[in-house]
């Protein structure tokens, strides 16, 4: 037992070391850690009451300056402070909503792919039904029925992404399930659930990681499209997607209103994907050079 634990730990150490040697992945990790830190210490970087929500109409729509690094928005609020604080919400929304769809969609897809036949048919048809319902309709309904708050927004985005994860995981599982190591696990009497989660899924990580990292991007952008119809984070709280959408009207006069939150999203996505690629390479011994 303890030997196995040691083995596991040493594998984790090995994966970590491989990751350490991947410069791009490290860049991604550093950026993410920096973002996470700035989100955690947002209050230290910029005070909420005096910087984030305090309005000054006479200073509205100003370009970047020494006083306001990223300029000011339509209420004269400091965009830098709002991006720092908005990162809290955006990162949480992105990560949690993707976790929801990964957990639900991934499990359903794995069962569908593993058992095949009728189970597959039922699960995937249900997923088809969900896929056919426009995500905006789901979002509007969930938010309208349960109320406009962050949890419901995450739930809405997570639910609408679920079928995609189910499909991708199912396809990956189908590709792996007939391989020998699965047969051998079955031969020694491992339970089906254990086979799925301990043997098959770890070998399907590549497409799952790629899909997850990309989905965080679309989740954050989804908050922007929900903001268009007013269903995202409520004023005066800052959130990147909402900042993007409210800046849209000022695109030609004050592009910094959309540029900086847009950049924040791009940098986050880039970092997530660099790390995701690195993780995939580190997890997948076949891709090791």
């Amino acid at each position: 037992m303890s030997a196995e634990r040691t083995k596991k730990r040493s594998m984790a150490v090995e994966i970590w070391q491989r990751l350490l040697r991947n410069k791009m992945a490290m860049l991604g990790l550093v950026i993410l850690v920096a973002l996470a830190l700035s989100a955690v210490f947002a209050d230290v970087i910029a005070d909420y009451d005096t910087k984030v929500v305090a309005q000054n109409i006479s200073e509205r729509l100003q370009g970047p300056s020494a006083a306001h690094w990223f300029g000011t928005d339509e209420f004269g609020r400091d965009i830098f402070a709002r991006i720092v604080h908005g990162g809290r919400v955006s990162l949480v929304v992105g990560l949690i909503s993707v976790s929801v769809s990964l957990l639900v969609g991934g499990s359903l897809g794995a069962f569908a792919g593993f058992y095949g036949g009728r189970v597959d048919n039922v699960i995937m048809r249900v997923m088809d039904v969900f896929l056919a319902v426009p995500s905006i309709l789901l979002a509007i309904t969930i938010v309208a029925a349960l109320g406009t708050n962050l949890v419901n927004v995450m739930l809405a985005i997570g639910v609408s992404n679920t079928p995609n994860f189910a499909r991708i995981v199912r396809a990956a599982v189908m590709g792996v399930k007939d391989q020998e190591f699965v047969e051998s696990a079955r031969a020694i009497g491992t339970s089906n659930t254990e086979i799925i989660f301990r043997e098959i899924l770890p070998n399907c990580m590549a497409p799952i990681i790629v899909q997850s990292t990309l989905s965080v991007a679309s989740a954050i952008l989804s908050t922007a499209s929900l903001s268009f119809i007013g269903l995202g984070v409520q004023p005066p709280d800052p959130e990147w997607g909402a900042m993007l959408s409210s800046g849209r009207n000022f695109l030609r006069d004050a592009m910094h209103l959309t540029l900086f939150p847009g950049l924040a999203i791009v940098v986050t996505i880039l970092a997530l994907n660099l790390l995701g690629d690195g993780l995939r390479d580190a997890l997948d011994p076949r891709l090791k050079q």
Binding site: R60, F75, G230, S246, R252
Partner: protein, 528 residues
């Protein structure tokens, strides 16, 4: 080879990104580009004038119906008001003149006799008769969408081809103004009956006696009207060959299309773009005071807004100047009245609470809310969210927490209709009939879903509204409305926020356009 392709792709992307940024990198460079662009645009405009003079008009949404009895929205009315004609028309001085009707006369409180103009032709060549009017008004009464406008009509009695009598079931001052509404368009009886006998609908081939004939409709994209050559009235006959209404939902894209010359006019210009149009030498901006009022409705049934002092305190606490800037880019005025200045039925008797946070604090203390309180504010739409954000910050200074809850418009209607809100932000654009404003907004019966989102119930006001609707003495009507405005503003059931200007942008060379304060613009006079 492969390398080359990749370099080319990367290069192309960089170039496109660079040009994109270059186009908007700074005010000076983009200003330069604009004026160059606009010069070309006017060139395009005059080129059109030489050939066929179709006027391209940018609108933000598509029409819903070409049957005047099947819609009640401004955009569909752009089409139906030009295809069909009404018995009366609204003049710039807010009086009504005959349109298809030569004249009318109140025989008593519930009987009105009309005389039609002679020899008016429908687009199919038939002549308009009293039978057509009777048919149209009766058809309208059946309509769930616009039937309520003529609910006071009991029957239409045809006297002869050009004479008919409208019998009302109750005295009403709203009859004539309602007949001006796009829902009261006059259709051709034989044509509609023939169409319906074939299993078709008016939607398929609308036909009336208006200055334009229907040409085509591309759902979601555009609809086109062309000039009707046998139109009866030279004064309101088309001065152009036709109108093309183009649907461009995105605000900035609509302005850009005007700058590039793809459009000749933009209705309901985005306030952000107003200065851009003013600064553009080849464009012109038509502005007018409107009948619009934007307001924060306080639900008087919910504490603490059941306390008049608290409601008045809020009226003192909100900095309307900031809202005008943040919500509509200064394209309007801070407002204290309950009906738009340009509206029929506007009187300057409302109490003006000037911005005075100290006074607000006093009143709150007097009401027992010195430490503030928490309430919610329902709203739909981005502009209202901006207003709310300012109000929220103003009230925060008094220790009041306002939680904004944005929702879909349909959700908003339902939830505010049921009175779930403490407060909500709404707007009102008055039309030509004051009763259509006072009745939904202020009477008890309309509390909630009927339009009175303050749930204000004052029998005194109810009585005044009813009297104004039927009293034939204009002075008494005016007194009624003045009293109502004075009462509701003193009760402070709203915090009126601002009134937005009417804005229509057009090519500078385009002439003959008269902007309408109630957004019922006529386009027949427009020409290069």
């Amino acid at each position: 080879m492969r390398k080359l392709v990749s370099v080319l792709i990367a290069g192309a992307m960089c170039v496109s990104l660079l040009t994109a940024c270059g186009g908007s990198s700074g005010p000076s460079s983009s200003g330069g580009a604009d004026s160059g662009a606009a010069a070309e645009g006017s060139g395009a405009g005059s080129a059109q004038a030489v050939g066929s003079s179709m006027i391209n008009i940018g609108i933000k949404a598509d029409l819903t119906s070409l049957d005047p009895h099947n819609h009640n929205d401004t955009i569909s009315a752009y089409a139906t008001r030009h295809i069909y004609n009404n018995l009366v028309k609204l003049m710039p001085d807010n009086t009504f003149a005959g349109n298809l009707a030569e004249s009318w006369e109140f025989k008593d409180d519930v009987t009105v006799e009309f005389t039609l103009k002679e020899g008016i032709k429908f687009h199919n060549g038939e002549t308009l008769t009293s039978e057509d009017v009777k048919f149209s008004l009766e058809r309208q009464k059946e309509s769930p969408k616009v039937g309520h406008l003529v609910s006071m009509i009991d029957s239409v009695e045809v006297v002869d081809d050009t004479h008919f009598i409208i019998h009302m079931n109750t005295p009403s001052n709203a009859l004539i103004s309602s007949l001006n509404h796009s829902g009261c368009a006059i259709m051709c009886k034989s044509y509609v009956e023939g169409l319906e006998a074939e299993g078709k609908t008016v939607e398929d081939a609308p036909m009336g006696c208006g200055p334009y004939k229907f040409e085509e409709w591309n759902p979601g994209a555009s609809f086109t009207l062309v000039k009707f050559d046998d139109y009866f009235d030279p004064e309101t006959a088309a001065q152009n060959d036709g109108l093309v209404f183009k649907v461009i939902p995105e605000e900035s894209a609509r302005t850009i299309a005007l700058e590039t010359g793809e459009l000749d006019m933009v209705i309901d210009l985005n306030t952000t773009d107003a200065n851009r149009v003013r600064d553009n030498a080849s464009l012109a901006l038509d502005e007018c005071d409107s009948t619009h009022v934007e307001y924060l409705a306080l639900n008087v049934e919910k504490a603490p807004f059941d306390n008049k002092l608290v409601r008045q305190a809020l009226n003192y606490a909100v900095k309307k100047d900031d809202i005008v800037i943040a919500a509509i880019d200064g394209e309007g005025d801070p407002f204290h009245n309950y009906i738009g200045t340009a509206a029929i039925g506007y009187y300057d008797t409302a109490v003006d609470y000037e911005y005075n946070p100290d006074k607000a604090k006093e009143l709150l203390a007097e009401a027992g809310y010195a430490d503030g309180f928490t309430f919610n504010c329902y709203l739909a739409g981005e502009i209202r969210a901006r207003s709310a954000t300012i109000i929220q910050a103003n009230l925060a200074e008094l220790g009041i927490t306002m939680n904004i809850e944005q929702m879909e418009a349909s959700t908003f209607y339902e939830r505010t209709g049921k009175g779930e809100h403490d407060s909500c932000i709404a707007g009102w654009v008055a039309n030509a009939e004051p009763d259509n404003t006072y009745r939904p907004l202020f009477i008890s019966a309309n509390a909630g879903a009927g339009g009175n989102r303050s749930f204000y119930k004052n029998p005194e006001v109810d009585k005044l509204v009813d009297d104004a609707a039927v009293n034939r003495d204009p002075a008494a009507v005016q007194k009624d409305y003045e009293t109502i405005l004075q009462t509701v503003s003193d009760d402070a059931i709203w915090v009126p926020l601002y009134t937005k200007k009417g804005l229509v942008a057009r090519n500078k060379d385009l002439q003959g356009f008269v902007i309408s304060p109630i957004s019922m613009h006529d386009f027949y006079g427009v020409h290069y």
